[in-house]
């Protein structure tokens, strides 16, 4: 493929300059052109580049189709399951890549070199060279795949060259006063922009659909009522049992753990974040602000795994040594409080920078109005700025809450893995996110309720955070409108 892309680009750029030059010559003859010279240049470029690109992609996938159906219909193998077929396919692909690498060790123009050396000496030398290092499974399939691949490459290169040259010729001939090349070029640009946003939307939809479908799979193996209302979380990781029997998979203990830890985190981070935002935006000197704000933002850039380590190695043991053990409450270093506090530290810069933006958005005229009536700065903050910023601050808190609920690393490391319904903050508890990690890293087969429950948990989490985000955005937007 890459040889073609290089060639393509050369021809496309060539078409760009020739079309542009031709357009500018026309213009010099005082012809009024509908499109600008640059538009004509891009017209030539796109006219060559897009068809050849589409052709290359098309042939590539046709090749893959033939290879796959070759593997599937291979008489020597009987596939017991889809997974086995996938495994063979993977093996074949890996070998093909090894051999292609052996044929052309130069990346640049590699497909060109592959075709030439195939025409000169076939694939046997490369096959032998690779075989001397490793054993190749399913040799016949590999050979078949390789030949198909090289055929596809040849077709791409030959057809690509022909089409590129034809298209270049055609677009150069189209350059004229009245043809609207601008419209065509702009259509391509708009399509590209639209495509980008479509990709963003479609991936989200795709993720939701896959979550949903796996959750439905789960619901067919395990009672959904038990999942939603069960108060016990106790998955059995022994295989060979009757499906869905051995395990209790109730979400409530996990939901409780999630909410409890998030609550601790918010109780810690919201006041501190809010007060620091008020101090920074209303009282701090410019010099202090210019140092403190970047530092706070730095805090926001620390990876959560680092916070997790902090919870596991510092805060947890500290709490254990200073509270849990002296009070005779056990010897746990994993606790809701440790995870919540560390998560709170993580959220402080988030709350603070959002609140800072919101407080700064309160118009100066309101402050002036308050000062003009003789209010002091603190009275102004308390009576005017906070009430005016309140809806926005609530929105910020909800956004922070949705981050807390979705946070994983800190709770995996800091809160332990015991799912319980308990009020004691010095005990360890498990959250939804931590259990998703648990269920998927366990050594069970994929198609079991114990594994699939991870998707149901993921979907529940998604629904919760989605609701919080929508609510928060709604409040923040409504608040913004008030001051437009």
């Amino acid at each position: 493929m890459n040889s073609l892309i290089v060639f393509n680009l050369i021809v496309s750029v060539f078409a760009f300059f020739v079309c542009r030059a031709k357009a500018s010559r026309l213009r010099e003859k005082h012809t009024l052109l509908v499109a600008s010279n640059t538009h004509w240049g891009w017209y030539g470029f796109l006219n060559v580049f897009i068809p050849t690109l589409v052709l290359g992609v098309l042939i590539h996938y046709v090749g893959i189709y033939f290879i796959n159906s070759g593997i599937r219909s291979s008489t020597a193998l009987e596939f017991a399951s889809h997974a086995e077929y996938l495994l063979v396919k993977e093996n074949v692909n890996a070998s093909v890549i090894l051999i292609l690498d052996e044929i052309s060790q130069i990346r640049f123009l590699s497909s060109f070199i592959v075709i030439i050396s195939y025409l000169i000496s076939g694939i046997e030398p490369a096959l032998l060279a690779v075989q001397s290092g490793t054993t190749i499974e399913h040799l016949d399939l590999v050979v078949l795949a390789l030949k198909t691949k090289i055929m596809a490459l040849t077709a791409t290169l030959v057809l690509g060259v022909v089409i590129a040259l034809m298209q270049a010729q055609r677009s150069i001939n189209t350059v004229s006063a009245n043809y609207n090349a601008r419209e065509k070029v702009e259509f391509v640009i708009i399509s590209l922009l639209g495509l980008s946003s479509l990709i963003a939307v479609l991936t989200t939809v795709g993720i939701v659909i896959s979550l949903l479908s796996e959750t439905i799979n789960f619901a067919m193996m395990h009672s959904i009522v038990d999942f939603l209302f069960g108060t016990v979380w106790n998955p059995q990781f022994t295989s060979g049992e009757v499906e869905g029997y051995g395990s209790d998979l109730g979400i409530l203990p996990l939901l409780w753990g999630t909410l409890y830890i998030s609550f601790v985190a918010l109780a810690f981070s919201v006041p501190i974040g809010l007060y620091s935002a008020i101090y920074l935006s209303e009282y701090a000197s410019d010099r202090f602000r210019s140092i403190a704000k970047p530092v706070l933002e730095l805090l926001a850039g620390i990876p959560t795994i680092v916070y997790g380590l902090f919870a596991l190695l510092t805060v947890g043991p500290l709490l254990r040594d200073s509270f849990t053990q002296p009070l005779g409450l056990g010897s746990n270093s994993d606790s809701v409080l440790a995870a919540g506090l560390v998560m709170g530290i993580m959220l402080i810069p988030f709350v603070s920078s959002l609140s800072d933006d919101i407080i700064n958005a309160v118009p100066q005229t309101l402050r002036d109005g308050s000062y003009g009536l003789g209010a002091t700065q603190s009275e102004t903050v308390k009576n005017v700025i906070i009430p005016a910023a309140l809806p926005g601050i609530i929105g910020a808190v909800l956004l922070a809450a949705s981050r807390a609920i979705g946070e994983t690393m800190i709770v995996v490391l800091g809160a332990g893995a015991a799912a319980k319904l308990s009020l004691n903050p010095l005990e360890g508890m498990a959250t939804i996110t931590a259990k998703i990690v648990n269920q998927l890293t366990g050594d069970t087969e994929f198609e079991s309720p114990e594994t699939l429950v991870a998707f149901a948990l993921g979907l529940s989490l998604f629904v919760i955070t989605l609701c919080l985000n929508v609510l928060a955005l709604y409040i923040v937007r409504k608040y913004r409108e008030e001051y437009e």
Partner: protein, 261 residues
């Protein structure tokens, strides 16, 4: 109108006496050596092209320039027999109220907006007392009849002109002696403007009003004394009638005939 002005001048002693007032923002001079007397029970208008320092000068009177970090005021400003810089800004601003260019009601109820100042300064003994203060201020702000049935609705829901009258009522609720207005009508339509001007005319009975305005017609309609500023200088300060009929400085004449500004 001219006669009453002359009477006022003879009867009243100055409310605020400014001498050689100079204001700088950082190292940029915004106002230089301005001296004038603001009379009691008189409307004084500040006119002049944008950026000539009218707002800056107005903000000297209630020390609002203190809230601007790089602003320095020098010279002498005497209010009530004492340097303004020696007054406590909190009580000073209760006695010298201010109304801003853009109506800026707080996002609170109409009642709470007006009660804001009295509450801060502890002017009421009890709820009934406060109710009385609010009603009186709203009546003087010519807004009572329009809002008396919805005192507890939010102030930001009023029309622009009503909002500005609310801000005036809010300013006079602390019983100030001087009312500063910085282009109070520039965001309003002609009808609301006329209502505010009428209100200013009444407020003159009890307060000294200083109004910054862009409109010379407005200055001529509402004021008895007019000061013309140009590039940070006070060019001319005189009875409004004289400024508009026989200006003594050529720059004033150019401005009021529309040649500069």
């Amino acid at each position: 109108m001219l006669d009453t002005t002359v009477d006022n001048m003879i009867e009243e002693k100055p409310k605020i006496i400014a001498r050689d007032v100079k204001v700088v923002y950082g190292d940029k001079e915004a106002l230089r050596d301005v001296s004038l007397d603001v009379m009691d029970k008189t409307v004084t208008a500040f006119i002049g092209p944008s950026g000539c320092g009218k707002s800056t000068f107005l903000r000297c009177f209630n020390r609002m320039n203190d809230t601007i970090a790089n602003c320095r005021v020098s010279g002498s400003l005497i209010y009530d027999g004492q340097e303004i810089s020696a007054h406590d800004p909190v009580t000073l601003r209760a006695r010298i109220g201010m109304v801003f260019q853009k109506p800026n009601p707080f996002p609170k109820s109409i009642y709470d907006n007006v009660a804001y100042g009295p509450r801060i300064h502890g002017l009421s003994k009890n709820k009934a007392d406060l109710d009385g203060i609010v009603e009186k201020a709203l009546r003087r702000g010519a807004l009572w009849d329009e809002v008396k049935d919805r005192l507890h609705e939010t102030g930001t829901g009023l029309s622009g002109g009503q909002q500005q009258r609310l801000c005036i009522a809010r300013a006079i609720a602390t019983e100030p002696e001087v009312l500063l207005m910085d282009e109070p009508c520039s965001a309003l339509d002609p009808i609301a403007t006329a209502q505010i001007e009428e209100l200013i005319n009444e407020l003159k009975q009890s307060y000294s009003v200083v109004i910054v305005t862009h409109s010379m017609q407005q200055a001529a309609r509402v004021s008895q004394k007019t000061a013309f500023f140009h590039l940070g200088n006070l060019v001319e300060y005189n009875d409004t009638g004289d400024i508009f009929t026989k200006p003594s400085d050529p720059r004033t004449e150019s401005y009021i005939t529309g040649r500069i500004g």
